[in-house]
Amino acid sequence: MFCDEVLDAIEAIAAGELTSDGRVADHLRSCPDCAAALEDARQLERMLQARPVPRTPSQFTSRTMAGVRRARWRSEQFLDIGFNFAIGTVILAVVTGVWMLMHRSGLTAVSNDAVDLFGTAFLTLARRIAPSLPLYAGAAALLVSALGIWWWAERDVSL
């Protein structure tokens, strides 16, 4: 048996996953180099088995859960932004579509006239009301006072 064949099996023998049969055992007895290699492999095996297990930091779980919450919050923020952007885009598309429809059908001209009409009516109403504003304000103050007194009296009775 050659050294190379034995050396290929040295790690498995040292780990106890392979038993050295008669030929390998004979070679190991007669070859000091392979015997030394097996001893080194066994020593390495012992060192690897005795390697200390790193201890988890005490705050690991809480820090990890905080990280999970942060990641979830970021993900929700991202979703919110995406949702708002999508809604905004849809609204813009609808408004643009309606405007284009109205423009093509000549309704925009009609709606401009309607806006002008409402504007003029509002101004006329405001001009008519303006001289009587103090009167309306006095009446509103009287009404609020009356309601206040009524509320106060009711509250007192319920007590």
Partner: protein, 184 residues
């Protein structure tokens, strides 16, 4: 962990039960942290990477179909995180050399101060492991952790069982070569 409990825990996590996910972290944190800390050999980096593993688990749970065991899936994530971390080595990692300690001379376990000798040997072993290729380091780190089986490693690394054993033997051969001058 029993398969039924595992499935139940995964289901609770999928429904957004934070307590269930915390339970999952508590169950696997020691294994995940030990595996990563042994591979990257830097505690603070190991903690960051272990947290990253659990974040990936949290993100991936909705897509976990339960075809593999939960532990196998977690090992696979650990393997990916460790290998990705190896893809961008931090300063200094590649400069570690066993030859740096050449001036201290040969140390054997028969040194009068045996404890000191053991510590030195352990230090050299860690340095030697640090010089192994990434997947060999992972194998060595995982194989000697209690509870990690060859089958789990094979599934996690998506390699045949025989290949995992061969890689582990080769890793140990390389380690032996690296330590040879120190151990003989």
């Amino acid at each position: 962990m029993e398969a039924v409990n595992e499935r139940e825990l995964v289901e609770r996590c999928r429904r957004g039960d934070e307590g269930a996910f915390q339970e999952l972290v508590d169950r696997y944190k020691d294994l995940v942290f030990a595996l990563i800390a042994r591979t990257v050999q830097d505690r603070s980096r190991a903690e960051d990477l272990a947290q990253d593993v659990f974040l990936r688990i949290h993100r991936g749970l909705p897509y976990f179909r339960g075809e593999a065991r939960l532990s196998t899936w977690i090992y696979r994530i650990v393997v990916n995180v460790c290998l990705q971390d190896r893809a961008r080595p931090p300063a200094g990692r590649e400069t570690v050399s066993l030859d740096d300690d050449g001036a201290r001379g040969r140390v054997t376990v028969s040194t009068p101060d045996r404890r000191f000798g053991d510590l030195e040997l352990r230090d050299r072993l860690e340095k030697a492991i640090g010089r192994l290729p990434a997947h060999y380091r992972l194998l060595v780190a995982a194989h000697y952790l209690q509870g990690v089986q060859y089958e789990d490693l094979a599934d996690a690394m998506q390699l045949p069982l025989g290949t995992v054993k061969t890689h582990l033997y080769r890793a140990k051969q390389q380690l032996r070569r690296l330590l040879e001058t120190e151990l003989k």
